[in-house]
Amino acid sequence: MPVDQTLGIATARSIRPRIVPILIGVILLLIATVAVAMVVIGRGNRAELLRADADHILDNPRLASKALNRGGKVFLANCAACHGANGRGSTATGTPDLTDQDFLYGAGRVSEIEQIVLHGIRSGDDRGWNLALMPAYGRSVPYAREKLPSLTPREIDQLTSFVRSMNGAAGEDPAAAVAGQNLYQGHGGCWDCHGRDARGDQAIGAPDLTDGKWLRGDGSRRDISRIIREGLRGVSPAFRGRLDPADARAVAAYVASLHHPKEKP
């Protein structure tokens, strides 16, 4: 069939200007649709995460996958600077290991970790954990909030012997350890936080002194003596107001997963 070339060219020119805006419109519409869909799905995921029972998120594989994916990114951006990218903390700086089974506060449940993420430890947030602080017994004022006695260097040595002997360290003077125990249970006041049995108190974050795990240092005479003398002043910031609530929950789930609990809490 003969083709009118002139007409053909003319037709193509007249059609192209119409197709281009239509194509642009369709692409924009598609982008808008995808964006809206992503927002709707994102909101749905967020709502699902927040409305779920925090302590059972890790039991739901679909929800756990979303929480861990998001939580890992939040952890790297906000927590890794102190706790390390692998969450193992550092005994050099007294930053807790988040991968072990030694819990300073609570039992490692997602809801408990979420509270710490949101309100912190000694962060100044009224809803945070602000009760306990290891006093500096080698200072003239060991504890700002409460009147506590300073200890003499000999008393600090005796307490060190007591703590080390509880953890099976060899070479400690038994007499010094007994004197240290008397101090621990007596005017040293250590029992008030760490408990009469020295197993700590998770309600105030006082560490177990008998389990051979050390928040700072390696349990050497030098390290324990220094902690008693200079105290500990670690802080976990409150991320309320800085993190979206869904991100706070996601990172709490992620941290809980790092602990690899032997049994479900």
Partner: protein
């Protein structure tokens, strides 16, 4: 103005005809709308319930007059009241916890409406503490760089010295001459105990517990004697010192001057001090800002 009867009838006839202009209808509708608007405004004024938002956000358990009751607070409240998680709580426990929180929120809002911060010292104190705590939270959430921390450590090196330690004996002499004799004997190489007892000096007992931190030694022997003791080396005795009507001779057995811990050892305290310093600066800044923008007028006789 008198309206002719014919016009009135025509106006009534065209009342329901929207295609015909009717001034009476326009005015009447305007008046009705105005009255209706005023009635709604008046009703809302006396029965105000606040603006409702569309649904409760997923991070909240409830919203009371647009103030959220956070889900995390609700969970904490359930634990505080009944020691249970939401999954274990009974419907009655959940209701009671939430109702309690809603009541608290309503009372807080009512308290603000009534301006109770002007009347109750506890409320005022709590508000001041809350504002200060907010600054603390913000400061604690900042993570300075290692470079900033090291610079802070260098600038405040004296804060990272543990207390010095000394073991000394504070001898009391019967008189200045005996003290001089004892000091000369020790400095010429005689045994300390023999020299002191030979000249009639005896320990005051103030520092006989062995090693002491500097602050403890100062508390035991006083600032004047402590400042002398601090400068003594191991095995050295001081010149006789008259203090408080008595003559003292200080014998230093061991004096360990404070040495600053290295940065790695002190890092946690450096970070805590850095943040404390930041809080202090933020508070000073806030004080200045609030003062500057406030209109504070002080009576003449109180200036």
């Amino acid at each position: 103005m008198n309206v002719p009867a014919g016009e009135t009838k025509a106006g009534l006839r065209t009342w329901w005809r929207p295609d015909v202009h009717n001034e009476r209808r326009s005015l009447t509708l305007c008046a009705v709308a105005a009255v209706l608007g005023l009635a709604i405004a008046g009703g809302a004024l006396f029965n105000a319930r606040g603006t409702r938002i569309a649904g409760v956000p997923p991070e909240d358990a409830a919203v009371v007059n647009q103030s959220p009751i956070l889900l995390s607070d609700y969970v904490a409240q359930l634990k505080a009241l009944y020691n249970v998680d939401p999954s274990q709580a009974t419907p009655a426990q959940k209701r009671a916890a939430l109702n309690g929180m809603i009541r608290e929120e309503l009372y807080v809002q009512r308290g603000i409406e009534l301006g109770l911060q002007n009347d109750f010292i506890e409320v005022r104190n709590s508000l001041v503490t809350a504002v200060e705590s907010q600054q603390e939270v913000e400061a604690n959430a900042t993570l300075p760089t290692e470079q900033e921390l090291r610079a802070f450590y260098q600038d405040h090196l004296q804060n990272y010295q543990p207390e010095g330690l000394m073991t000394l004996t504070d001898y009391l002499a019967p008189d200045l001459a005996s003290a001089q004799r004892a000091v000369i004997a020790v400095r010429s190489g005689k045994d300390l105990a023999t020299a002191m007892s030979g000249a009639g000096l005896r320990s005051s007992g103030a520092t006989d517990d062995g090693d002491e931190f500097y602050f403890a030694a100062e508390a035991h022997i006083g600032s004047r004697l402590f400042s002398i003791a601090k400068g003594l080396h191991d095995g050295q005795v001081s010149d006789p010192v008259a203090d408080g009507g008595r003559v003292h001779v200080l014998a230093m057995h061991s004096n360990r001057q404070p040495v600053a811990e290295d940065y790695g050892q002190a890092r946690d305290r450096v970070l805590a001090d850095y943040r404390a310093d930041k809080i202090a600066r933020m508070r000073a800044g806030t004080d200045h800002f609030l003062r500057e923008r406030a209109d504070v007028q002080i009576a003449k006789d109180f200036r």
